[in-house]
């Protein structure tokens, strides 16, 4: 088999869903930092979101499985912690999909712009911590629905 191009690998990885927020891919999440061939070995560099995030090891496994299914045999997943992951690395496509899914995308202002369900700007924080390390818990005071906000870090 001819060695797939690095761009091809990026495209394949963009089809690997995040295990906790499956509407976005691991590429959208911005945790895949580099894809590079070193001889016969494909090295994928991953930067974890939160240091204790239980999804991190699942993500590495999912990446490996997806690439193996594409016929790549020799895969090395490298973890890089610096520079630290930041929500600035979320793709625009990813942010759009988050909101469609009901998760308000991160904003430097430190809170959601609007309720992802009804669009109202009348929102309030319930808790700085939510269902996963990357999310906070907010609610809309118009439609009264609670929602997740993807924390800005």
């Amino acid at each position: 088999m001819a060695q797939p191009s690095e761009q091809q690998v990026w495209d394949w990885l963009d089809a690997v869903p995040d295990p906790e927020i499956p509407v976005i891919s691991v590429v959208d999440l911005g945790i895949v930092r580099d894809v590079a061939w070193e001889g016969e070995t494909l090295t994928v560099t991953v930067t974890p979101t939160y240091s204790g995030c239980p999804a991190t090891s699942i993500i590495s496994m999912d990446i490996e499985t997806a690439l193996r299914e594409r016929g790549i045999r020799d895969i090395r997943i490298k973890t890089r912690i610096s520079p630290a992951w930041t929500t600035d690395w979320l793709s625009d496509k990813g942010k759009m999909k988050l909101e469609e899914y009901g998760i308000a995308p991160p904003r430097p202002a430190g809170g959601p712009e609007r309720c992802p369900r009804c669009g109202s700007k009348a929102v309030e924080k319930v808790s700085q911590f939510g269902s996963t390390p990357c999310k906070a818990h907010w609610r809309c005071t118009d439609c009264l629905e609670p929602f997740d906000y993807f924390k800005c870090i």
Partner: protein, 253 residues
Amino acid sequence: MTRDDAFLQFLLRMGDNTLVLGHRVSEWCGHAPVLEEDIALANTALDLIGQTQMWLALAGEVQGDGKSADDLAFLRDAWDFRNALLVEVPNGDFGRTLMRQFLFDSWHKLMLERLKGSSDERVAAIAEKAVKEVTYHVERSRDTVIGLGDGTEESHARMQEALDYLWPYVGELFAGDAVDAEMVAADIAPDPASLRADYDAILAEVMAEATLSIPKSGFAHKGGRDGRMHTEHLGHLLTSMQWLQRAYPGARW
């Protein structure tokens, strides 16, 4: 003491602080007063355990005996732990748990900010990662201390009691020794005493807002950071945390 010996001690101190506190905080899982607090505590514990993995993995690397972070967490006994006594004291009620969290988080954030500039790039990288998480921890523990301190008569009394109980454990965080001197000389970590002025300023501001009085006594319990004398509580904590490896040595999944 060689520089590597001191470096190992320093890394164990960082990693054992987050490990022991992470375990303590995880004891709340399923027991917090409301669901949101339960989730917040679990998330905080998770971050701390994640940071432990980084610190203890580096400790194992520096030690050079091929030990993993798991080996160091689960196969050492109480006298080998280097955490400050503050993090091993039992949780007490919810208020005391959050008071301890605030006292620790405030120190932790100052420490990590300084470690971002460490001459050892592995330390700097861990600090850069961890400080982002700790910023959220302290924001929450601070708000809770203020909310409960300046709350009802009952919550105020309990928070004052918590502060009085925990205060003698604060001093140890800033008490430097030969290990710290070596870290300062190597430009790896700051002198703990140099964090004290900023810490006191933060505490003064927050406790004033929380309508709580900081005890006057400067007495400090010590013996955790150097492992000389832990409290009896650490041993009990370890029997629970290390139970699986003690009962089934080498068990994996």
